[in-house]
Every structure is written in C-alpha cells, then in structure tokens.
C-alpha cells in the first residue's frame, strides 16, 4: 500500500516514492484546511472585529459622556430630544451645546469646532456609533415607550469617556430580546419578519 503512486507507471517509475506522502498530505491539507477555514469564518463573523462591538468612533468634538452624564448628571433627553417619541433619537444641535458653552469653557481649545459651527452656521457632523443596516427598521420611540432602558443597548454611557458600540448589533442580538419579550417586559414576542424588515 505504501507505494501506490510509485508503482503507478507500470514498467517505468513516473514518480519518486515520496509522491505517495505528498499526495496524501495535500489531500489531508485540503480537507483540514476547509474545516479550519469554516471555523475561522464562523468565529470571526461573531467577533468584535466583525460586529464592531467595543469600537469607539472618531467624532468632530471629543465629547465625553462620562463627564456630561456621569459627572454633571445631564439627562439623555437633554441632547437626544426625540428618543422617546420618534424613530431617530436625535443628535444635539450646536445651539444645545452652546446653552452651556456660551458661558462655560468659552476659550477651551477642545470646543473650537463647536464655536466655529456656531459662528458659520454649519452643523457639527456627529458620527453614528450604533449603526444599523438600512434594511433594518428601528424605532427608538417604540423601545423607550416599552420601558427598554437606554443602557440595555447602549451600555453604561455615563462611564464612557469615548462613546463605544456597546452591543454586537447582530440580528441574533436583536432576536434574542424580541423572542424574550414576554419574560423581560411582559409583552408579546415580536418575531415577524416585517417587524424589522419593512
């Protein structure tokens, strides 16, 4: 059995005996490689690298929730005004910042982009940290009305110097809660496709 390929040529030897090993090794490598590759693919699709969980997004102003929420104690809704009524939570306008910062830290270098925006009337371009795909319909209002706490999805924002993505935002993460609504919130489970994909 050991010299299957070496004998293959009949009279003349087509291959040296080492080919037996090399052919078998290649076939095993292919098979094991396919298994390893699938494990890597499945694992990486759940990893932070793929979902973005724990990732901070660069913002035009280095805004600290830890200071404003944890330290000063400002309510979420002071800046995210429409969070309990509309699909979009709302991002603070420059005017909202200037309520305080026209009096406080008026010369701070960190706030230069805010003053610039105030002067030229061009809004600050805040970047979304929790970015759902466009084919998923999400309504902040519905969730807040159902008494889902902000921190359930956004984490302990009051401790975040830089705002990071607190949840993996995979469909499984959404569905796990939607299936568990009766136990968690005393509401019927929401598992119809069209609840989120409209």
């Amino acid at each position: 059995m050991g010299s299957t390929f070496a004998l293959a040529g009949g009279v003349a030897q087509l291959f040296p005996a080492s080919v037996n090993f090399r052919v078998r090794a290649s076939l095993w490598t292919l098979a094991i490689g396919a298994v390893v590759l699938s494990i890597v693919a499945v694992a990486s699709s759940r990893s932070d690298w793929s979902t973005g969980q724990g990732r901070a997004t660069a913002q035009p102003v280095q805004f600290s929730h830890a200071h404003h929420v944890g330290g000063v104690g400002i309510d979420c809704r002071y800046c995210h005004r429409s969070v309990d009524t509309e699909a979009f939570a709302g991002m603070p306008s420059t005017q909202t910042c200037m309520h305080c910062h026209s009096q406080l830290w008026t010369e701070a270098a960190m706030l230069a982009p805010v003053r610039q925006s105030w002067a030229n009337g061009r809004p600050l371009r805040w970047r979304r940290v929790h970015d759902l795909p466009d084919f998923a319909y999400f309504d902040h209002g519905a969730h807040v009305q159902a008494e889902v706490a902000c921190s359930t999805c956004h984490g302990e924002v009051e401790r975040m110097a830089l705002t990071v993505q607190a949840a993996p935002l995979t469909m499984r993460w959404c569905v796990d809660c939607h299936a568990d609504l009766p136990a968690r919130y005393g509401l019927p489970a929401q598992l119809s496709c069209s609840t989120c994909h409209r």
């Binding site: 299957t4 040529g9 979902t51 299936a179």
Partner: protein
C-alpha cells in the same frame, strides 16, 4: 483490446476531425461569450432585465432550469438504474450520458442562483451557524432544491469520476512525459489489482444505489417548487411523477440528439450499435407515454375536481389563452412520439434524430407552459397579466446552450468518451460466452 483503446482515444490525431472539433468549439465559445455578457448585464442592472415582474415572477429562467435539470436525469437512469439491473447495453453510452448529466446540472443550477437577484448571498440557503438566530426556511421548496441539486451534483460527479479511474490509468500508461504524470495523478494510483477492482466494484455499486434514489427524488423536489404553491395548475399531487417522467423523456431525447451525430462523426458504429440506439428509442417511448399520462391526468383532475380555477385552466389550455402553445406541446410530445412504435423509425437514425429534436423542443415548451401560464392566470382576475421574455432572457438561454456544448466538447476531447474498461470487459465476457 488495444484496438478498442485506439478507436476510442485515437480520433484526436485525425486532422479532419481535429479541425471540426475546433470549429465546433469556436461556435460554442461564442455561446459562452453571449452567456457572460447576459450574466454581466444582469449583475449590473438586476433581475429586472429579464421580463419578470408581477404577476409572472418566474420567467423562462425557471422553465429552462426545470428543463436542464430534467436533461440530466437520463444520464443517471442509464448509469445507475441500468447498472443495477445489469443491462449491459448501457456500457457504450453511460460515460457519455453521465457527462451530459454533469454539464446539464451546471447549466441548470446557474439559473436559480442568477434568479436570486443577489446571487452573492446564495449561501443563505445553506444552514450554517450564522449570526441571525434564524435558520433557512426549511418549509420552503427553494431550500429543498438546494439540497436536492447539491446532492445530485456531488453524487453524479463522484459516480462519473469513479467510473473514469481505470480509463485514466489506461491514458496514463499510453502517455509519456508530463502528460503521463497528469494522468497518473488523476488516476489516483490505479494499478488494476484484484483488490482494487474489488473495492472499485463495491464503491461503484454503492454509488449506483444512491444515484438511483436521486433519479426519482431530484425532479420530485423540483416539482415541489410548483406543487406546494397555491396556483391553479400547480397545486397537484401528480406533479412529482409527471416531472420525473418528463425529465427522463427530455433527457433520453437529448441523449439521442448528442449521440447520433457524434456516433457518425467519430465513427463509433462499432461500439454504439444500432441495437443501443433502438433501446434508447424504446426508453424514450416509455418515458413519453408516462408524460402523456401526465397530460391526461391534468385534464382529468380539472374535470373531476370541478374546481372553478382548475376548470378555467383546462379550458385555457384546450381552447383559450394558451391553446396554441398547449396543442403544439401535445403535437410534439404525444403526437410525434407515436412514430416510435414503428421499428423501422426506431432504427432510422435520421428519423430518430428529428423526432428527438422535436420532442425536446416540445418538452421545453411544456416547461414554459407550466411556469408561465399559471402565473399569468392566477386565482384573482385582477392579478392577471402577460409575460414577454426579453432579449436578455433569450441570450441567457442561448448562452446556456453554448456552455453545454463547450463542456461536452471539452469532455470528448480530453476524456475517453466511451468507457474503455467496460468495453474490454464486454469483449472478454463475450469471448467467454462464445468459448
């Protein structure tokens, strides 16, 4: 014995046949080019370039898919069922029929993938550990399709390759240098020892058993795409039988369409005897009569059930909206078939070839009728509409013929198109009988 090998592999050295092969390959490549352009434009512009929409969401892409998958069934019937029944007349044609099956599966599988609209997400049909917390919809026939055709493809390939191994070893022993080494790798170290033959036989028969189930299961599952859907003319229990019979019918005729010219072209008369052709013609007759029974059953169910929409469909077929198409199908698939009762027709290759072409066109039209007509005339008259195939539909169909021809030409050029091993066996066994 060496004459057999020379006759089967030697044509490559004949300059005239070589030229003919090149011309044929050139034409087939043009077809492949058309296919690439059609698919490219589909990817750029979306499935809307096909004439599909509402209410006809399945166009000729799906009817061609059903037709192509059916073509493959003849190969499996010949290689698996006839092997298990020890019908030795299959030997000169099984390699060829199996290759036809493989290529037809490729042509067929292409269509549903393109039809997805976002073909890059085809793997969503496969149950893999995803991050969605949802499995594919196992109640959907599209998922069954994926399993049925996937299994069919894998088993057919394994079966074909396993049968090829001894012949690959023959090619290795006759070649020199680099070619010999390529053949040797493909032959997987075949030496023809008694132990190897023993294992080979076991594996071959085992795979034949598996493939036998597939002859029936694959096209049954394809028929479920229609039968589990609530549309007049589709929601019928006769569909699996009707589809399998139709598959064998179109497959056997396709085999004749390919076999008759190739036999003449490559001078294979010594291997593919008139008897083999005639037996194929008889199988066509059997499959055709089963299919004809399907047409009869459709009419009968419409009449017997008395359901408003079934009756409307039968009427539409017989006298109304799709009567011209329906009667063309009947004329080609049932009328033309009756000629095969006559032994002289079965033995006349010209007549047989023309009949086979006619029937295969009829089978394609039948698939068209099933897919399009029911969608055009659903339960609600307010949802009725007409379907017209666009130039891109036809380009894709034409292209799939090109792809089929190109693969078949590559096959006859590089692979022994008749099993040399089995032909030698026949020779030895026949000598034994004579002695």
């Amino acid at each position: 014995m060496s004459t057999i090998t020379a006759a089967i592999t030697g044509w490559v050295r004949d300059p005239q046949r070589k030229l003919a092969w090149r011309v044929a390959m050139g034409i087939a490549s043009l077809g492949v080019l058309v296919l690439f352009v059609a698919i490219g434009w589909l990817f750029v512009a979306g499935v809307g370039v096909w004439g599909v929409g509402s209410p006809v969401s399945w166009g000729i892409a799906i009817s061609s898919f059903v037709w192509w998958i059916g073509i493959g069934h003849a190969g499996t019937l010949i290689s698996a069922i006839l092997l298990l029944c020890r019908q030795r007349w299959r030997n000169p044609i099984n390699r060829f029929a199996e290759a036809m099956t493989l290529v037809a599966i490729v042509c067929a599988a292409m269509y549903p993938l393109l039809h997805l609209g976002r073909p890059e997400y085809f793997y969503w049909l496969i149950p893999y550990p995803s991050t969605y917390a949802y499995w594919p919809q196992f109640r959907s026939p599209l998922v069954w399709d994926m399993f049925a055709i996937g299994t069919y493809g894998v088993v057919s390939l394994a079966f074909w390759y396993l049968g090829l191994i001894p012949d690959l070893a023959t090619m290795r022993d006759r070649a020199t240098g680099r070619r010999a080494r390529v053949w040797a790798l493909l032959a997987l170290g075949w030496r023809g020892s008694a132990t190897q033959w023993f294992h080979h036989r076991q594996a071959y028969n085992l795979l034949a058993g598996l493939a036998t189930a597939l002859v029936v299961s694959v096209h049954s599952v394809v028929s479920f795409d229609f039968a589990v859907t609530l549309l007049p003319g589709w929601h019928s229990t006769v569909f699996p039988v009707y589809f399998v019979a139709g598959a064998l019918y179109s497959g056997m005729t396709m085999l004749l369409i390919l076999l008759i010219p190739l036999r003449a072209w490559f001078g294979l008369h010594d291997f593919v005897r008139p008897r083999h052709i005639e037996l194929c013609a008889r199988l066509v007759l059997v499959a055709g009569l089963f299919t004809a029974y399907g047409y009869f059953a459709e009419q009968l169910f419409g009449w017997y059930a008395g359901d408003l929409s079934s009756v409307a469909l039968v009427r539409s077929h017989s006298f109304g909206h799709s009567a011209p198409l329906y009667w063309t199908v009947i004329a080609l698939n049932v009328g033309l078939l009756q000629l095969l009762w006559v032994a002289r027709v079965r033995r006349n290759t010209w007549a047989l070839f023309s009949i086979a072409v006619g029937i295969n066109v009829g089978m394609w039209l039948e698939r068209y009728l099933i897919v399009i007509d029911s969608l055009e005339r659903g339960f609600l008259p307010s949802g009725w509409g007409e379907y017209t195939a666009t130039i891109w539909d036809w380009a894709t169909l034409l292209g799939s013929f090109g792809l089929f021809a190109a693969f078949m030409l590559l096959f006859i050029r590089f692979v022994p198109m008749i099993s040399m091993t089995e032909m030698r066996e026949l020779l030895v066994e026949d000598d034994g009988d004579a002695g």
